[in-house]
Symmetry: C2
Subunit: 127 residues, 2 copies
Amino acid sequence: MLIVISYTNPEPIFRQIMEQIKIAIASGDLKEEEKLPSIREMAQELKVSVITVKRAYTDLETEGWLVTRPGLGSFVARVSRSDLKEEKRNEIKKVLLDIVDTAAQYGITAEEVAGLLASIENERKGS
Amino acid sequence: MLIVISYTNPEPIFRQIMEQIKIAIASGDLKEEEKLPSIREMAQELKVSVITVKRAYTDLETEGWLVTRPGLGSFVARVSRSDLKEEKRNEIKKVLLDIVDTAAQYGITAEEVAGLLASIENERKGS
DNA sequence: TATACTGTGTATATATAATATATACAGTTA
DNA sequence: TAACTGTATATATTATATATACACAGTATA
């Protein structure tokens, strides 16, 4: 599993790890019931403390994406793939809602926000 | 000037203050050259430390929205209103770009994101 | 079958940086 | 000098990250 952490990224390391594991699950790169690298393995690969990786795994378990068994390892939880995608959709919707509200306070209309989004898609197609 | 801070909001207090001052400037509620409440006044109103308000004012000055004169007070900088709106537009575009990228990693298309945004607007009109 | 080995996760104590505070200091004007 | 203004210093609390010592699970082997 390829995980890359950035020290310039203000996001804490354990969250960067969490996010990339979620993406691995959502993309099918990590399958249900599959064993993840041990916290020591991953800590060594990322040149990061074991505790930091543990924090990422523990939080992912709390959110229901992993199951950890002491002495055995951590495993991808059941039925997490489509759930993860749905969770992300809701998360995105919440952020969009916040954007529209904030924009309004600055006198930027919802139509204008939609226009910005459309311009991003067009620029993407162009390249 | 009405500012409301929330302790459940994970955003630090000084950033909540900054954001609401920016909105007051963008909306014209605070005009160019106008004097802001003294840090002590605002600290007392918000039941918050003077240092926290100072931090907000100092950062706003660094970003160019305020000018502070020791012994006199803090004042809205010149030509900040339209600049602020433009800055916000750029900020929003950056966030939208990030959303589209992240969504793609979860197998959510840009069209789907646009759809979510459209649904928000529709729900708003409905209410 | 007992036990030692090697893998796994866990708990405790510590360091550093960001946020928020209280209190003492200094500039401006009347 | 009085009554405003912002500023500087030292301290507390919380989040993030770490090192090190501990405990659990499976397996090889004496």
